[in-house]
């Protein structure tokens, strides 16, 4: 039986991943900031077959409480085997260009809190010599674009940070998986027009679960985003800077 910790457990993508763990009868420790939503997710996972489910209320920007949270997760079912960090916000790019506080806030939630959590969890897993850390970054972190570079930069920090962590822990028995979803139909993108490139959270959740089972390093989901980003990353900067992407 696997002990799974999920931060940002009310995220649509995280819930889709969690349903797979639940169906396998695992234990789930769900962290999020809204208790009613946490209860709704926890009930669903119990019905799906999870052995035990506990919820924990936390605003991830409460950095001082991270250690307590991790201790509570460990106390609940024993050492954590899989930690999934899924919380995130998609800030209004235009607002971030005008307001430094807005911009920093997005960074705080997407990058700073995530790197803080990764540091704590990595040390815990390293000491035990096992565990899998999964962090949801984004394809938006692969290249800076005028339409979305604040979010992109915050995700780029997560990608590079987790990449370094993977390198550090590779020989310590700890797996680090960086997940880069493309566009997913979740509350985060509710305001966007949905084109054919949008994937369902179920599809992305399935990919993430498989990546965990197989012990992948970097996962693009759906897979075609690896091709799309492969092209985008290789456009020369002197051309790229004039594109409206």
């Amino acid at each position: 039986m696997t002990n799974v910790l999920i931060v940002g457990a009310t995220s649509a993508i995280a819930h889709a991943v969690a349903r797979h763990f639940a169906a396998a009868g695992d234990n789930l420790f769900l962290v999020g900031r809204n208790p009613e939503k946490l209860t709704a997710v926890a009930d669903d996972l119990r019905v799906h077959g999870a052995s035990q489910v506990q919820t924990y209320q936390l605003d991830v920007n409460d950095l001082e409480r991270h250690a307590d949270m991790l201790a509570a997760a460990t106390a609940a079912f024993g050492p954590v085997d899989v930690a999934l960090i899924a919380h995130g916000v998609l800030p209004d790019q235009k607002a971030c260009e005008q307001d430094v506080y807005e911009m920093l806030q997005a960074f705080q939630t997407n990058a700073v809190s995530t790197m803080a959590l990764l540091t704590l969890i990595a040390n815990d897993f390293e000491a035990r010599g096992r565990g899998t850390i999964v962090v949801i970054s984004s394809v938006a972190g692969d290249r800076g674009r005028q339409s979305n570079y604040v979010y992109g930069a915050s995700k780029a920090a997560v990608s590079i940070f987790s990449q370094g962590l993977r390198n550090r822990l590779a020989r310590r028995g700890v797996q680090v998986i960086t997940v880069k979803p493309g566009m997913v139909d979740t509350p985060m993108t509710a305001h966007m027009r949905k084109g054919p490139l949008f994937a369902s959270p179920e599809r992305v959740g399935q990919d993430i679960y498989q990546a965990i089972l197989k012990g992948k390093d970097v996962v693009y989901t759906p897979w075609y985003w690896r091709l799309i980003m492969g092209v985008i990353v290789h456009i020369p900067e002197r051309v790229f800077k004039y594109l409206r992407l």
Binding site: A12, A40, V41, D44, V47, F198
Partner: protein
Amino acid sequence: MSQTYESWGRYPKVRHKTVIPIRWRNEIPALDRLDAPVLAYGMGRSYGDVCLNENGVLLDIRPLNRFIDFDPEQGVLRCEAGVTLDQILRLIVPRGWFLPVTPGTKYVTVGGAIANDVHGKNHHHAGTFGRYVTQLELLRSSGERVICSPTQNVELFRATIGGMGLTGLILWAEFRLRRIPSAYIEEELIRFDHLDEFFEISAASDEDYEYTVAWVDCLAQNRHLGRGIFMRGNHAEGVPILTPDSTPRLTVPIDFPDCVLNPFSMRLFNALYYHRLRHKRERRLVHFEPFFYPLDMVRQWNRIYGRRGMLQFQCVVPVGDHREVIRAIVERIARSGRASFLAVLKEFGDVPSPGLMSFPRPGVTLTLDFPFEGVRTLHLFDDLHALVREAGGAFYPAKDAHMSPQDFHVSYPQWETFARYVDPHFSSSFWRRVTRGQDLSSVPVFHTPAVSRPAEN
């Protein structure tokens, strides 16, 4: 991801002012402050316009798809209203449970199943889906949340079962399941040469078969008129396999050109289908999926009807001179040569529905679809409706885009009582169509006697 909000028949085509996805039970906008009437939208598996709300607001409840509680001993399930029957089957079949009643597709939501009080092949034994609902939570536009059950807020419960989404937004429901020994069905197929034979087999199957339905060749004429294949079955004993097996095999990725379904291809298909049975009678063991959901094997099969879409027709003819009436209807359809291959005949039982507006009633129900071909189709519908009307029959709102206000009032004489429970901010294209010319402003609005206590969780 589909951004279009149309019904399964893709007719009529309407525009909506906005669509609001409903994701959390605790985060729903104030419905009485929206500047247009609202309506819940499930999987859009209704054919006509019950799930459409032209120029109004649709509440897309599909993201509201979490389970809440499951008692595997008693077989009682509680879930949010956007959970689909497909999701439920994957959960319960491996644990030896099954839906008490299921329509011919599993891609419908629990909210939709309640709002149309759906029926299945076991209607003569089990009645409608609504009979198994033990409680539900209804959100009225006033913000009030009402727990309705057969013993609590009974009137509103009865109005909501089969209430076509008009009494408010169902947030979650709890209902009873039935035990199954296996995921397989022992099925018997019997070829019949005419309608009289159908009625004989149907009567003989009533007792011993939980599931009965017949496919009729609505294009065969003269001495072949009303030929078809009778299908009956029971959950198989002694096959202890409980796989929910559910991958659609094929998808219709594009709209077919309008010429694909022509009278010739349909006649050919029907003849082939009829002759598929090499013997008069065949027995076989089949998984429940092809037995209950043959059409689900092809995703978006409605696209074979092309852009213009299709019209469904489902009526029930009450017991009495039903044999003659059904014959007259089938004759009229055969003469038109326009029907498609999906014609289904079934005898309803007399198990009462709790719903005030439920469609099923004792008699014979005939269902089929027609490619929409403009006035020609509409004329045929006028004739069919006249035949049903004369016989004192009724039409099924979930399958309708055509009935007149008069047809509706005759099919559902209790409609004025029902109108009292319609939420003042809810409406639908269907409701406006069938109440056209009626002054509903004088209908007193129903208020729940006391504010109900929210459920424990």
